[in-house]
């Protein structure tokens, strides 16, 4: 019995090691690959080009749609630029310093083990390469599970799926072709869409030490077990008239964002629910504030977090 328990613990530890190596490889390697993204009944092709940080050059990345309207996301050390040719719009968001809260799976094994079971599930072939298959199964119904196919050689994530509690695949990404550690010319990291004549939206962020908003304080009174605040900031979004408070919570794997902004003059508040694959959002209006919760958590959980936001004091 003790031997069996030891074997289970060792397998869990090995699975966590694979995931930690994967998180590091994702940042530290150059790669250029084609992959398909599936959600619901949709299947789309994309290309990702990633260049690791070298010397004074920050890590950079470009993600391009290969089907449908041209869309690109270009990231570097300072900003994220999203270009939508179909809408002729560009959204620029200033980036937070990388690794500012880079907890990932560096959370203690014992802590994550209370929330998830980590399992190695053998080897499978993806994009012509051998991968370790890792299963991460939530211990409660209040979060999703993951299956990760991690390249045995490079430790890059070549396939991933987010699963509902019932085991249904909510979203899946799978590389069909990838070149690892090749030279990445700078030209490949430049957006093909220049955005000339497009409408540009630029947003800025400043750190915030507390959850208080000018003239108003609020609390999130309910979160799933194991969730802790990871970041708090006030953002000046081009899409909002006033400052937006953005607080981030995570259990080390799953993440949820709480956005709160004052309902401004002639702005239509909104309330309700929507989903995109594994991401759920719930909005409500409370005490003249718009509260929106966005998270990779089941819809009832996201909604419960949103409705637990309580305002007090002025």
């Amino acid at each position: 019995m003790a031997l069996w328990a030891f074997a289970v613990a060792a397998a869990a530890s090995e699975a966590q090691d694979f995931v930690n190596q994967m998180v590091e490889a994702t940042k530290a390697l150059n790669y250029d690959g084609l992959f398909v993204y599936q959600r619901d009944s949709q299947l789309n092709a994309m290309r990702i080009i990633h260049k690791a940080a070298t010397g004074s050059d920050a890590e950079s990345e470009r993600l391009v749609s290969l089907s449908g309207p041209a869309r690109e996301v270009v990231r570097d050390g300072a900003k994220v630029k999203c270009i939508f040719s179909d809408d002729k719009e560009v959204m620029v968001e200033k980036r937070q310093p990388r690794d500012f809260y880079a907890l990932g799976l560096s959370e203690p094994v014992a802590k994550l083990a209370d929330l998830y079971a980590f399992k190695t599930e053998g080897m499978e072939r993806v994009a012509g390469r051998q991968t370790h298959l890792v299963g991460i199964i939530p211990r409660g119904a209040d979060r999703y599970g993951y299956r990760l196919w991690i390249d045995a050689d490079s430790k890059l994530l070549l396939k991933s799926a987010i699963l509902s509690r019932e085991g249904r695949v909510l979203e899946q990404v799978q590389f069909v072709q990838i070149e690892i550690n090749g030279n990445i010319p700078d030209a490949l990291l430049q957006a093909e869409l220049e955005g000339t004549g497009f409408t540009w939206y630029t947003s800025e962020t400043e750190p915030a030490d507390a959850r208080a908003q000018p003239g108003q304080e609020w609390d999130v009174r309910w979160l799933p077990s194991g969730f802790e605040m990871r970041n708090s900031q006030v953002q000046h979004l081009a899409t909002s008239d006033g400052p937006v408070k953005h607080v981030v919570y995570s259990d080390g794997l799953a993440m949820v964002s709480v956005f709160v902004e004052k309902v401004m003059h002639k702005v239509h508040p909104f309330q309700g629910y929507s989903s995109l694959g594994a991401v759920n959002a719930f909005s409500r209006v409370a005490d003249s504030y718009q509260v929106t919760v966005v998270g990779e958590l089941p819809e009832p959980v996201v909604r419960h977090i949103a409705t637990s936001v309580a305002f007090h004091g002025r």
Binding site: S41, A70, R125, L148, E171, V176, V248, V301
Partner: protein
Amino acid sequence: MQDLERLSALVDDAASGDEAFLKNIAGTPGLRAAWGRYHLIGEVLRDAHTGAPGTSFADRVRDAVAAEPTVLAPRVRPRRSSLRHPLAAGLALAASIAALAIVTLRPATVDEAGVAANGGFTAAPSQVVFVQPRDAAPATNAEDPEYAQREGADQFQRRLSSYLVNFNEQRSNLGVPGVHPYVRIVDFQSDSNRQ
């Protein structure tokens, strides 16, 4: 022909794609073009069924066919609304179908009773509702509720797009595994298939 039939079934979610076939799609220009075309036609059909305002079935079929040769270097499609993205589009589309009559009627300080008193979870609401702006002149929306609805949907789409980008950025910083954080932003099916 066999590949095209299989591709069609894959797009319709009636078949699963093995790795070899997916690789074949990526490496075969004809299959990639057909893939894009099937998705575009799927969009057209979905819009036709949902009766999305401002769409013409014939026009969209023509657009879909015209887009075929340029699937890999897509043309700019006619703009249908501003800064659509997957998450916002679902809310907006649902609202456009169901909430036209509601938009001017809901009080601005409504709070949902979606969570049971004991903390248990209840069923989700099925749509987003745009609430009357506090300072808007009531006559404006009363005279043109559809305009108010569209304006509310546009405002909402922009804000939720920005929220989603920021959520993904934070997710990227945390380094958690799973779907690449910006894939959902690039996902081109965003603007018409969420209900």
